[in-house]
């Protein structure tokens, strides 16, 4: 469709969001991501039937952990979107981008930079 969306987004493809493990979500933040979102099929339309439902539960669980460690669960979100819905995809990308810009950088960014410099 050649719609544009912010270039702050890095896309990681999975065969189904059901493949998402809590550790992937945490690792992303551990490596410095400022925000993460999981985009799965609309509920009821998962090719693998319940993959996206499981993903949602894992996202909720990871959000709690992120709150517990002070990173902030609001940096992580799950969206449901039809595979062919380009405009919605771009819309979500912009939404998430704005939200994360407002929240500011990942609180461990500083420590990561120091580590790299060392």
């Amino acid at each position: 469709m050649r719609l544009s969306y912010p270039d702050s987004i890095r896309i990681i493809r999975l065969p189904c969001t059901g493949k998402v493990d809590v550790i992937y979500l945490l690792r992303a933040f551990q490596k410095g991501a400022d925000g993460v979102y999981v985009a799965g099929c609309l509920e009821g339309e998962c090719h693998y039937l319940t993959g996206n439902l499981r993903a949602r539960k894992k996202v909720e669980y990871a959000k709690k952990i992120l709150d517990e460690v002070g990173i902030g669960g609001e940096r992580l979100e799950m969206y449901n979107i039809a595979a062919s819905d380009g405009p919605r995809f771009a819309e979500i990308a912009r939404e998430m981008h704005e939200k994360i810009m407002a929240l500011g950088p990942n609180p461990i960014k500083g420590a990561l930079r120091e580590k790299k410099a060392a």
Binding site: D21, I23, L26, Q30, I65, E68, V69, G70, I108
Partner: protein, 222 residues
């Protein structure tokens, strides 16, 4: 199996706050089955603790290891080569494993990463419930396979009490009344007359009340 639940991360952080290098040791058995302390949970805790410490500007080196079990000496030996290179261990095994690890490695502080809850079953994924309290004198044959000691809030041997309501316990409307279950099962088995037999006063000396327990099988000792 033994069912446990991970302690709040804040509490675990409190344990290891002053250390620089720690081991998080998981267990491949019960705590894996209840998603509290297996390999994946070790990874998650390690990631969470790293981030928490980084945020505070602290450095924390974490080694992740998951043992087959922590309640048999052979498996704990696997730690022997490197454990003393670290400052502390957070063990995600049940209380049994944490203690045994601590016993085998006296010179390093060992902290529990989970709260050990009970001996129970997986009712469905994500739901575990208690079934046995290790009283040492099993009477399941008399109670149609349902234990009144672990499943009755008052451990009545001649229940139900007057608080049983619509098959649920007076203390929690979602908790089945054990004696209702026993009566229903006895009926299904055509053995409701068993209910009329008074179960005598229990000998609790083989239970916790009698003191810490030990089992010795001389025929198996080497």
């Amino acid at each position: 199996m033994i069912v446990a639940e991970r302690k709040p991360i804040e509490e675990i952080m409190g344990f290891v706050r002053d250390f620089k290098k720690i081991i998080i040791a998981g267990c491949n058995e019960c705590v894996t089955v209840c998603y509290a302390g297996g390999k994946k949970e070790v990874e998650i805790l390690a990631s969470a603790l790293s981030m928490a410490f980084m945020k505070e500007g602290k450095e924390l080196e974490i080694k992740e290891v998951t043992l087959e079990r922590q309640c048999d000496p052979e498996y704990l030996e696997e730690l022997r080569g490197f454990i003393y290179d670290y400052d502390a261990v957070v063990s995600l095994a049940c209380g049994v494993g944490v203690q045994f690890l601590a016993e085998k490695y006296l010179k390093i502080p060992v902290f529990p990463g989970v709260n050990t809850l009970f001996m129970g079953v997986t009712e469905e994924k994500g739901v575990w419930s208690e079934r046995c309290q290790g009283c040492g004198q099993c009477i399941l044959g008399q109670t149609a396979g349902i234990c009144p000691i672990s499943r009755c809030a008052k451990r009545l041997l001649n229940g139900p009490c007057g608080g049983s309501t619509k098959g649920k316990c007076e203390i929690n409307p979602e908790l089945d009344c054990a004696w209702q279950l026993i009566i229903d099962r006895l009926k299904e088995l055509g053995r409701l007359d068993d209910y009329d037999t008074l179960i005598p006063i229990k000998d609790w000396s083989t239970e916790r009340a009698g003191g810490p327990r030990k089992l010795v099988r001389e025929d198996l000792q080497q």
